[in-house]
Amino acid sequence: MPDNLIVTISPHIRSEDNISRMMLDVIIALSLNILVSICFYSWRAFSLILTCIVFSISTEVISQKIMKKKGTVSDFSAVVTGLLLGFCLPPSLPLWIAAIGSIFSILVGKQIFGGLGHNPFNPALVGRAFLQVSWPLQMSTWISPFDGITTATPLTIDKLNLPGVIPSYEELFLGSYAGSLGETSVIALLLGAGYLLLRKRIKLYIPISYIFTVVIIAAILNKDVLFHVLSGGLILGAFFMAADPVTSPLTDKGKLIFGAGCGLLTMIIRFRGGFPEGVCYSILIMNMLTPFIDKITRTKKFGVVGQTR
């Protein structure tokens, strides 16, 4: 056999696409949101996001070195995890807590299960849930943008009937109110999601069924529908966390069920739970159910149903 002939199995053509490009697209989609959060909270936002990203990457590198595994930092998934974790933290959080959250995200959320693709839960949300139970005070102290005065989030005001002004729809849409770093600006998030859709990185099944369920439940309970859609982490959660391919079901039908489940749980937590916001926990609970949803929504192979003759 001549040396210069290569023999491989078919197909001999493959798309140029790979995981790094996919993750880079997510980063590009979130970049507008980074700018918006820096605009709102200046150095606090910048340092918090940077801390999360740096600690995520270094945890990934070190843990893979220790476990003697193939390094996968170049796929940028750690950057995405760090970014998303940073986005769902309060702007006033001390940096050391954010660092611990990032380490926990990557270590327990991802590497313990075997790295990207094997994690059952969304790593960023694992980190956030961990911080929420470990430092509840710091994790529920919010400051308003620009001036940095401590205040409450609109959902808390609404839930506990605190004295305070619920922002108008325009403010909710632009994001100039107290809340997590990257969850408030609906417009920036939607533009990012639009970019992901253009690049065919996410499918609309999960976000649509998620938001639709929230709308339906809010309408049934006679609450302010638009307020419940625009406030809290719903848009960030629906488009960037619930739609994460690794932890959501494979088939379109399964994605619809997943989104509806997330929406239902979010509204239950918002109205009946102990927290004012339920996006994080509802997605984590539905992540747990993903294997079962996959099992009941398996595709029917060609030629099994719909025989026309």
Binding site: G117, K300, R309
Partner: protein
Amino acid sequence: MISPLFMAKNISSKSILSLNDSIRAWSLTKNSPIFINRRMVFISTNLLYIKKYIKSIKEQKGDRYKKESEPSPYFLGKLTFNGGLHLKEQKHRTENKSIRELSLPRRVVIPLSQHTGRPSVPIVSKGDTVLCGQKIGNSEGKISAVIHSSISGKVVDICLWNHPIIKEPVTSIVIESDGLDSHIESQKKYADYYRYSADELRDVIKEAGIVGMGGAAFPTHVKLSPPTEVDTILLNGCECEPFLTCDDKLMQEYPKDIIEGLKIMMYVLDIYSAVVVIEDNKKKAIESISKIIFNEPNIRLEVIKTKYPQGAEKQLIKAVLRRTVPSGKLPFDVGVLVQNVGTSLAICNAVKNAKPLTSRVVTVTGDCIEEPGNYLVRIGTIVSDLLEECGYVPNNKHKVILGGPAMGIAQGDLNVPVIKGTSGILVVPLRNQTYSEFYSCIRCGKCIDVCPMELMPNMISISVESELWEQAAVFSPSDCIECGCCAYECVAKRPLVQHIKLAKRKSPSAPL
């Protein structure tokens, strides 16, 4: 439109009263070219109606005229199947190169096994002289095919030779050319095939050694005696694989013969419905075929969306006829026979011109070929000889693929012959793609979206990786047609086709 006179003829004199009534009722609707008044004395023409009628005819003719001049109406029928993907076509290299015959090869190697089924039995021995078109191997058993010598010369050896598809070397007949290319004396031609019985024609096709030219090489005479009743023939001119243009070229240059071959098949099977299916990127082929089938009432042309793997039998039937072939069954079970255009041409040549299958059109293309084109190649020509004539530049690292880029087989040895099922030879340089390295499945679901058989390739692959053969079998890898869509799309670069092939072999229900 029934004229009153015609009505009057059909109605007996007894019911003249009712005739009167019916005519009256009819004429009163004003939807007739003439008015008759109530007592049938006064008849006048309905000018308005006639004007309308003439206008409608003019419009109809105008439509017909439009259809002939514009190729675009064919794009309206976007028939297709679920899944699949649009690959970069890359057919520009050979699209406009007409079919050219290559010079006579010095020697040919004709494997006894070029088809699905049992290998042929040689009827010549070492040292015999043979003529071009002479039968050198007889078919054995029910599913087998006859082979012919493709050049004139001397049988040098009957030995084991490497085969382009089968892994182990196969017994092959090596013939050295005498340079004369003398053919056997012409045999009986069945130009007026409809005077002969279907069985006679089947025998002619069998003796011509015709097999499916699309790649699977299933003996055609077996396919033409289906176990169940068939009502439609699909003539497959899709050629969905990138790079290949041989079927496209055949349809452009021999449309008449292809349709003749189709008509012979229809006669043999005694059916009255056939569809020629072409993808919408082959405008010239569509044009040439539609010119021929213009006055064939039983044959229709169907233009379908360009998508890979549109040419796969089950997907084609689904796209064109909306019939679903059940899992594990054959197209016969839904009353359909799918034949490649190349096979149809070979049938026409065999029946009408008494020419056995000794050569075929092969697309030779790729970046490492100086003169890409569609060549008429003698069966048994050694690939390296063929490539040399087409200007083969062996550069650093490259692949030589027999077949298309998606399903073809990469060769490790160029000393293999072209066989009846070889549709293309592709020589492409290796890109900077590492094939050895792959990552964990990130469950993006792209493979599920593109799978034309609606399987879950990633789940099979994950199970195979952990050697869970029973779990892999749950996702029915046996239904996979190995089109490679999933592996093309995979962002984690997983070798999905390889894993599925492994699952097929290791699955608990598979015959060992």
